[in-house]
């Protein structure tokens, strides 16, 4: 077994190492995300043909579906980090879990709004209390609950622990969102892209979608790392490494 992987992970668990690592990775992740999003949107909005049923309105898919994937993916990442934080009391894991929530909430919000903007011309309504839409709205409320609970404690680590429990309890909603289109009769269309079996989509429409998926994943990394850095400055403020940072030898504290 490659021994350096756990060793590397172990070192990343140290706040100053993670702070520096995040600072080095963030601009590259963000830059690549912007480039990929530009390419994906060009391909999706201008190159791909119009849908035979939905015309040009279907192009909202290139924003809506990657955002929806991220709303669930970030929840998964947050749940793993929350579990690690609760079981092994690793501070970085707690911070990663707590700082994932606002990014997840942002993507969930985008999913709901773009879905609404897609639903109005296609279904004739901005909103309906259907299984997929309702469970995604519940997901947004869970994200907001996690953020609120985290900030309602005087002691940050206590807040992180309480909110991490909420993250694990709320995880039951993730499969409900995902399978809602199969379990219930809903207005929402079924999955277009599948991991198993053939996707119901043309290549010219698929590649912008997958490129956007990569862009949003990279964006999550960039946003999460910026948030973790901001959080560590406050929560590690009394530690020597932050004081050294403030003394500004590497110019990183500007």
């Amino acid at each position: 077994m490659a021994n350096w992987v756990p060793l590397w992970l172990h070192r990343l668990g140290s706040p100053p190492v993670f702070y520096r690592f995040a600072g080095a990775v963030r601009p590259w992740a963000l830059g690549l995300a912007i480039v990929l999003a530009g390419v994906a949107l060009y391909g999706g909005l201008f190159v791909a043909p119009a849908d035979y049923q939905q015309g040009d309105a279907y192009r909202i898919i290139f924003l809506h579906v990657p955002s929806a994937w991220m709303s669930l993916f970030i929840y998964g990442a947050m749940a793993v980090a929350a579990f690690v934080g609760l079981v092994w009391r690793i501070k970085i894991a707690e911070v990663v879990a707590m700082e994932s929530a606002p990014v997840g909430a942002a993507f969930t919000f985008i999913t709901l709004v773009t879905g609404s903007l897609w639903g109005k011309p296609m279904w004739g309504t901005w909103w309906t209390w259907d299984a997929r839409l309702t469970s995604e709205l519940v997901l947004l409320f869970i994200y907001l609950g996690v953020i609120g609970l985290y900030h309602s404690f005087e002691d940050r680590r206590q807040g992180a622990r309480a909110a991490s429990f909420l993250v694990l309890v709320g995880a039951v909603n993730v499969p409900i969102v995902h399978f809602s289109v199969n379990w219930w009769n809903t207005l929402h269309q079924g999955s277009t892209v599948r991991l198993l079996g053939p996707s119901h989509i043309e290549t010219s429409m698929l590649w912008p979608l997958l490129t956007m998926m990569a862009a949003t994943k990279l964006y999550y990394v960039a946003s999460l790392f910026a948030r973790v850095r901001a959080d560590l400055i406050a929560s590690e403020g009394g530690k020597g490494w932050v004081r050294e940072l403030l003394a500004g030898r590497d110019g990183d504290a500007a």
């Binding site: 040009d56 192009r59 909202i60 924003l63 942002a106 773009t114 897609w118 964006y219 910026a226 400055i233």
Partner: protein, 66 residues
């Protein structure tokens, strides 16, 4: 080009979606950068206050009251 920008009859919905996507993510990008700067500024002020509390002439007590 104008025809493709119009998105059939759906220009409003498509471009509103694009706008929402980028505005929300722009706010999400800028907020933590501002928060990090604010945290650094507050920490600097706190350290300065601690320094001031020490009387001139006494040796610094090696980063105690953290």
């Amino acid at each position: 080009m104008n025809a493709s920008l119009a998105m059939g009859a759906y220009g409003f919905y498509v471009w509103s979606s694009v706008a929402v996507f980028f505005i929300v993510l722009l706010i999400d990008t800028l907020a933590p950068l501002a928060r990090r700067r604010r945290n650094l500024r507050e920490l600097r002020a706190r350290i300065a206050r601690q320094e001031n509390r020490r009387r001139p002439g006494t040796p610094p007590s090696n980063e105690s009251n953290a």
